[in-house]
């Protein structure tokens, strides 16, 4: 028996002017539990104003390569059939995080149709990957000022030290490395 809890993708919004971005995943027993753990894992220090979670199993994810080769994976079959989809898009490989950004929502009869519409509508940048998620599968943190304040505001005034601040006993490893060629006989 698989005792692992389901995996949820986490989307974090840094400021009201920025889109929600995929930042990673958590395991959790239910949607609200996923939001709670997501807040702890991804927003304790960094800035945030809102978080969304969606079960990984509900996400229709397609890469540029798969589209080029006509090898689209089969999307999950949502039940009941949703009509509103959220579209996320990855446009850069540049940074270490995934940065699949929310680009907008649209109405469609199926995840495939939502993907087709998205490719026609969101053309301002090249898409390296698309994520299509039924709106009904997304759970959002509350927007009430009280929730925003207690979930996200305390993180802003917390200070912390980088790992490199702390001294360590001993010396840097480079000190013990012999110069190149010394071993060669």
């Amino acid at each position: 028996m698989d005792t692992q809890w389901p995996r949820w993708e986490v989307f974090k919004q840094d400021t009201p002017a920025k889109p929600h971005q995929a930042v990673g995943s958590v395991h959790a027993a239910d949607p609200f539990h996923a939001l709670l753990t997501a807040r702890n894992v991804f927003a304790r220090r960094p800035q945030a104003v809102s978080m969304w979670v969606a079960p990984a199993s509900a996400i229709f994810s397609v890469t540029q390569e798969e589209l080029a080769e006509g090898q689209e994976p089969k999307p999950p079959a949502p039940d009941p059939r949703p009509s509103t989809f959220y579209v996320f898009r990855k446009t850069s490989h540049k940074r270490s995080m995934t940065f699949v950004d929310y680009v907008g929502e649209l109405e469609a009869a199926s995840p495939q149709q939502a993907l087709e519409l998205a490719r026609q509508r969101f053309t301002d940048a090249e898409a390296l990957a698309w994520w299509v998620v039924p709106a009904s599968s997304v759970t959002k943190s509350e927007n009430s000022p009280e929730t925003v304040e207690s979930w996200f505001a305390p993180a802003k005034d917390k200070t912390y030290k980088q790992q490199s601040y702390y001294g360590v006993v001993g010396s840097h490893v480079s000190k013990f490395k012999r110069p190149r060629g010394e071993d060669d006989e």
């Binding site: 809890w5 958590v26 395991h27 959790a28 027993a29 239910d30 609200f32 539990h33 709670l36 753990t37 807040r39 702890n40 894992v41 304790r44 009280e146 304040e149 207690s150 979930w151 505001a153 305390p154 702390y166 001294g167 360590v168 006993v169």
Partner: protein, 252 residues
């Protein structure tokens, strides 16, 4: 502030800080042992937040008597600590830890909300700041109590056992210090009787909603913060060992 009130406030701040410090240490014992990575991180966050609150209360005390928070935390013996016995009980299983943190969070959120109206402005300001993150803790532990209570037969059995054991100890949170009435009269701290009334209402409702039964007999209810269980000695032996071995501890 006259000398008697000042001494009463120092005693109260010490009790508040000691509760947070000892509870934070118990929570921190889960680091690396949480049921899943996400909850391990979450509880470590809660422990750090409670430790931060302890720093706030020791800091307010320091402003009154010049005491050094590190000396108070790491160089007092068990008999000098003024935490309640509730927070020093061993961490037990996950249900025990979540329930204790929940019962404490409800108390703390209520106390802080009232203390934000303190006539002593350093306390009012600190309480208003600390209560923000306390609301989030509470949502988290409240969710766990509900899920364990309504989860499997085993989870319900475990959290019910935790409730039976803790309920009496938790009541000590509402036992005022010998001179606390002076502070209440001056509007410096909230009246614990009122906090207790709100706490009972709120916890009773949530525990019942979570399928749990309140113990008919509250069990042992500690009354004096000068008394401790034997568990505090072993907790301090571990918590204070590094500082006592190397008080500077600047390099590790």
């Amino acid at each position: 502030m006259n000398e008697q009130v000042k001494q009463a406030l120092i005693a109260k701040l010490t009790a508040l800080a000691d509760d947070e410090l000892i509870l934070a240490h118990r929570d921190s014992e889960w680091t690396g042992h949480g049921p899943i990575l996400e909850e391990d991180i979450a509880l470590a966050n809660i422990a750090q937040d409670e430790l931060g609150h302890a720093t706030v209360w020791y800091g307010l005390r320091s402003a009154l008597d010049g005491s050094d928070p590190d000396r108070l935390a790491f160089f007092r013996d068990a008999g000098e600590f003024r935490n309640c016995e509730f927070v020093e009980l061993p961490r037990g299983d996950w249900a025990f830890t979540m329930l204790r943190q929940y019962l404490f969070d409800v108390y703390e959120a209520l106390w802080l909300s009232a203390a934000a109206r303190s006539t002593y402005s350093p306390l009012a300001e600190a309480a208003a700041k600390v209560v923000r993150e306390e609301r989030f803790h509470l949502q988290h532990t409240q969710a766990w109590v509900e899920r364990l209570g309504l989860g499997t037969e085993e989870s319900r059995r475990r959290i019910q056992a935790a409730l039976d054991e803790q309920w009496g100890y938790a009541q000590q949170l509402f036992v005022p210090l010998p001179d606390e009435a002076l502070l209440v009269a001056e509007g410096i701290v909230p009246d614990l009787a009122e906090v207790k009334e709100a706490w009972l209402e709120r916890t009773t409702e949530h525990l019942r909603k979570s399928g749990l039964e309140l113990p008919l007999q509250p069990g042992y209810q500690p009354a004096s913060r000068q008394m401790h269980t034997e568990h505090l000695w072993s907790l301090l032996a571990e918590m204070q060992s590094t500082a006592r071995w190397d008080a500077e501890a600047k390099v590790w």
